[in-house]
């Protein structure tokens, strides 16, 4: 049994602007707000934090992880008050690839939560040996809890 605990989104778009022009839209709050969110606070340096009010109720938060001028920006990403996608729990990478007459922008959003929820909470140690059994190819037998629920 293989467990995947995360998901990825990849997007690509061609923009008729030089990487130098495009880059500032990731590091300048006045420019960023033209394409993302309603209100933006940011500190454009590695380890610097940002806060994006996406629609008046969802607040995206995280930090700049990597900044390579005109080439690449990596930001940790999550939502305020969300514990499964907390600020900084997933990662968004923007790559700027120069082309004739413009730039190819490739976005990759890593580590999104999927229905394969990892749990580190106390009390579920019951499942851990079972999952390990599955992973190691042993049949853990009928789950007594499941049986309990079925009758």
């Amino acid at each position: 049994m293989t467990q995947t605990n995360s998901d990825t989104i990849v997007k690509e778009i061609f923009i008729e602007a030089r990487p130098e022009t495009l880059f500032s839209f990731f590091t300048d709050a006045d420019k960023m707000v033209r394409w993302m969110g309603r209100q933006i606070l940011l500190e454009p340096k590695i380890g610097g934090k940002y806060r994006i009010d996406v629609n008046g109720s969802d607040i995206a938060m995280g930090e700049y992880v990597e900044i390579v001028p005109y080439e690449k920006i990596v930001m940790s990403w999550g939502w305020e008050k969300s514990k499964i996608v907390p600020p900084g729990s997933s990662k968004v990478e923007f790559r700027l690839i120069p082309k004739e007459n413009g730039t190819n922008l490739v976005l990759t959003h890593y580590d999104l939560p999927s229905s394969e929820i990892p749990s580190h909470q106390q009390g579920w140690s019951h499942y851990m040996p079972r999952i390990k059994d599955f992973a190691e190819g042993r049949d853990p037998g009928v789950d007594p809890w499941t049986e309990l629920a079925m009758h």
Partner: protein, 108 residues
């Protein structure tokens, strides 16, 4: 919709419930037996999860079986997917406008 999903996921006990029902349906009493909190409190968590679309209820006689709704997670991913689609289109417009402005200034 997304607010409900994010809100539902924000509570550790609700994440524990999701983890419990991940591999199969359970009744509310079976779920409650794994928690020290009261049955009504568990019911309240189940209600929030159901409203968020992350959990689905099946009724069989007087029993209610709770199971994970994978579509709920797909919707979360779709929300993020749409968010990036919309944002990137706006970025394209804004950056191209900026580029045209720069070029016009250079020509003058």
């Amino acid at each position: 919709m997304i607010e409900k999903v994010l809100h539902a996921l924000a509570e550790p006990r609700r994440r524990d419930i999701l983890y419990l029902v991940r591999d199969g349906e359970l009744t509310s009493s079976a779920i409650a037996s794994h928690f020290e909190i009261s049955a009504p409190a568990v019911s309240q968590h189940l209600k929030v999860l159901e409203q968020s679309g992350l959990v689905v209820v099946r009724r069989d006689g007087t029993k209610r079986y709770y199971g994970i709704r994978r579509d709920g997670f797909a919707e979360l991913k779709q929300y993020i997917d749409r968010f990036w689609d919309d944002s990137l289109l706006r970025l394209k417009e804004a950056a191209e406008e900026e580029e045209r402005k720069k070029n016009d200034t250079n020509k003058q």
